[in-house]
Symmetry: C2
Subunit: 450 residues, 2 copies
């Protein structure tokens, strides 16, 4: 069945069940459905009703379903759950999901809650909470399957049955020595296909790709997806296995990064929640701040115009001002977009001069084409000498826009800043200033010449 069908089919059923207070049916609802689908249907109910249904399920199911709610919905719901119930559920949640939730809750509440959580889980939570935001440690889970190297396949399978890690983390098994150093790797698929008497040491792959717990989470996530891994092991600075990052969390990090870049490209601070969930004044702040910065930049363009307008008396120039400025901004934002992408793929390294040369040639070619078009456009409205001024200016702003747009993201990267800050509106603001300078100087030069 397609997942979207569930929602419309099951929500009315569930509302009926709630009205009849049919607890057996509520339990059945949690058990029969895939947790992600159950969560989707429950999100269609008011939070108190969703909690009523959840309370009829086993804690482990509760935790699985709860983990599929959006973080925003989770935080909104925890306030209505009694601390004892919540602490049971947190014990059952997977290590990375519960840390995501606790990081969003007030520290005081987390402390009160942790006192109710079992000792072993508590230590694990504190450990995971301690990794800095943005590190591989902050997105890893401590639930992984592991084996010593001196057992055979049959013993290994028995051990795995006992470890019984919840969810998806049993498919990749990591082999460690007595001090938990990561020494090998074997997949469950290979394990079940091997002879029961084979030793793990003879079967395991010894070259293991791992990441460090303090690595940047985004580059780790890209690494995991690039190789198509289900999970990637995370080690400390002494190569001791401390956790794994699973494919779904890696995909989430990469998606979040792409979304944040899209917001920056649109000229605003990235939202943490969706548009609908973001409060009004947060939205106003994240947009308004940038609009004021960009207005400030545009006011400098006004100053530059002020300088020239008092000197020249060529009214026709105004007509093509928006067109000339837009051409430079557009060419520049194309270059910046291309470079931000190339930087994300590490394509620019050792190629800065090659790229600069290429952009100069592309800029000159695009500038020539656009100059010809704009001379034709200007000719229809003003005289021929004026139209040449417009054409020359378009050529110059497109060429410089292209080069500057390509170089600025690389410069930001070199300064250790996020190249994605070079948004289209910011490039446009910079190129407006440059464009006015070029336009009036070109007019002065060319008209003087003729």
């Amino acid at each position: 069945m397609a997942p979207s069908i569930y929602h419309s089919l099951l929500l009315p059923d569930l509302q009926q069940i709630l009205q009849e207070q049919d607890e057996a049916a509520m339990r059945e609802f949690c058990e029969a459905l895939y947790p992600g689908v159950a969560a989707e249907v429950l999100e269609g109910l008011p939070p108190e009703d969703a909690l009523k249904v959840l309370s009829q399920c086993l804690p482990v199911k509760q935790a699985e379903i709860f983990a599929f709610f959006s973080l925003h919905a989770q935080v909104a719901m925890v306030d209505s759950i009694e601390p004892e119930r919540l602490s049971r559920m947190i014990e059952e949640m997977s290590a990375d999901d519960r840390v995501d939730l606790l990081e969003r809750m007030e520290p005081e509440r987390v402390e009160r809650l942790l006192r109710l959580v079992a000792q072993a889980e508590r230590a694990d939570i504190r450990k995971l909470l301690s990794y800095p935001e943005g590190s591989a440690g902050s997105i890893m889970t401590t639930e992984y399957a592991w084996l010593p190297s001196d057992v055979n396949v049959q013993e290994a399978l028995e051990r795995l049955r006992l470890q019984a890690p919840t969810r998806e983390t049993i498919y990749y098994i990591y082999v460690t020595d007595d001090s938990r150093h990561l020494i090998g790797f074997i997949s469950l698929g290979k394990l079940i296909q091997a002879k029961p008497t084979t030793n793990i040491a003879d079967l395991m792959q010894r070259e293991v790709i791992s990441v460090r717990v303090d690595d940047d989470k985004e580059s780790v996530a890209h690494e995991t997806l690039k190789y198509g891994f289900i999970a990637i092991p995370v080690v400390d600075n002494q190569n001791r296995l401390v956790g794994i990052i699973t494919h779904d969390d890696a995909a989430e990090v990469v998606q979040e990064e792409a979304v944040a870049d899209a917001y920056l490209a649109g000229g605003m601070t990235p939202l943490e929640d969706s548009y609908i969930e973001t409060p009004f004044f947060e939205l106003v702040w994240k947009r308004g701040m940038w609009l004021i910065i960009l207005l400030g930049a545009a006011s400098l363009t006004a100053q530059v115009l002020n300088y020239f307008e008092h000197q020249e008396e060529m009214n026709w120039m105004v007509l093509f001002l928006p067109m000339v400025l837009a051409s430079g901004g557009n060419a520049g934002s194309q270059s910046a977009t291309l470079m931000i992408r190339a930087l994300a793929l590490n394509e620019t390294e050792g190629r800065v001069f090659w790229i600069a040369g290429r952009e100069i040639r592309i800029g000159a070619l695009l500038g020539t084409v656009l100059a010809v078009v704009s001379v034709l456009v200007a000719r229809l409205m003003v005289g021929s000498s004026a139209s040449y001024v417009v054409g020359l200016t378009v050529f110059l702003v497109v060429t410089t826009g292209t080069i500057v747009g390509a170089m600025l993201p690389m410069a930001l990267k070199r300064l250790g800043l996020d190249p994605a800050f070079m948004s289209t509106p910011l490039i446009a603001a910079l190129s407006d200033m440059l464009g006015v300078l070029i336009y009036y100087n070109a007019a002065r030069g060319l008209i003087g010449l003729m």
Copy 2:
């Protein structure tokens, strides 16, 4: 070991091996390394050298490593491989990877090649090649693990050992009836934890989330990632299992979509390959086409200005023209960015009026703040009545820009077009025209009033 270390350590070694023509060492290179890493190192060599190393490996390893090259590199390399070798390798490649490659090759060459491929593989390839681009069928693989429902766990494990699907596709096992209808699902993790005598029919999950072979590939990919699945089963219109889509391919589709949207947002046609790999004239075309369209839009702004400039004689207005136009464009592109994201999350459904109301309030608030700032800026340069014209105009362009920027992507979606076409440069071009109209009308009205 971190993956980036491999490259710098192994490339010189490999060059040495090539110089000494040490075939045993070449074989060892392919066998010892993870295929993704081997591919990365080999990409540092000239294609003919990379092929020399590959030719020493077993066909199955060759195929695995080859699949990790970028599609662009693969297409460039196939021309240098003799057809017999290539057909062997294609037989060994995974079903989805080889179809990706063949889709990029010339149809004639594909036909010649397919004649050399084994009968069974050939039928599978033709079938997969026949699914339309953009459909779930075009990204699925036919390598999946399946079971009938009337076997027990022990028999199931024996069958799986025989099926021995390559790579990662053994972790989710689909249960089908005699006519291949999808009737259940079980994970390998659950299977190895169950008693050997339990029947699959009693163990399997009967509610299976599946997608249709003709579903849109992007929505299917989002579905797969949302639920954190390793794979999602693909069925035909009679619920018969025809393939699966794996998590890595789903993640790739979602990433490609995000990248394409980023190019559109920057005002250009999306690239298929990376910046470095894209040929010069393709780059010029994909940028130039949009620049000319945007120039055309800007020339309309020039026409509007022409109409007003002949009537009014207020030179100070020119000074603030870029600032006024930029403010409207920036506010509009923020709204458009937010809406494109909200549309991707299906957040707008049934909320169009709520969103419109919210954007009007946000636009009015942002417009007021920016108007105050711009009155202050204008006051420093021109008289007070002029500065009120600027303030009023900024208020009006920011408010209308915000609303129009929010509504246009929704309108595109309703027309069945990609909302991502509402790029920042296009919003800016539209808002420039609107801005000039507002600016000159506001000046006429307000100055007349005073």
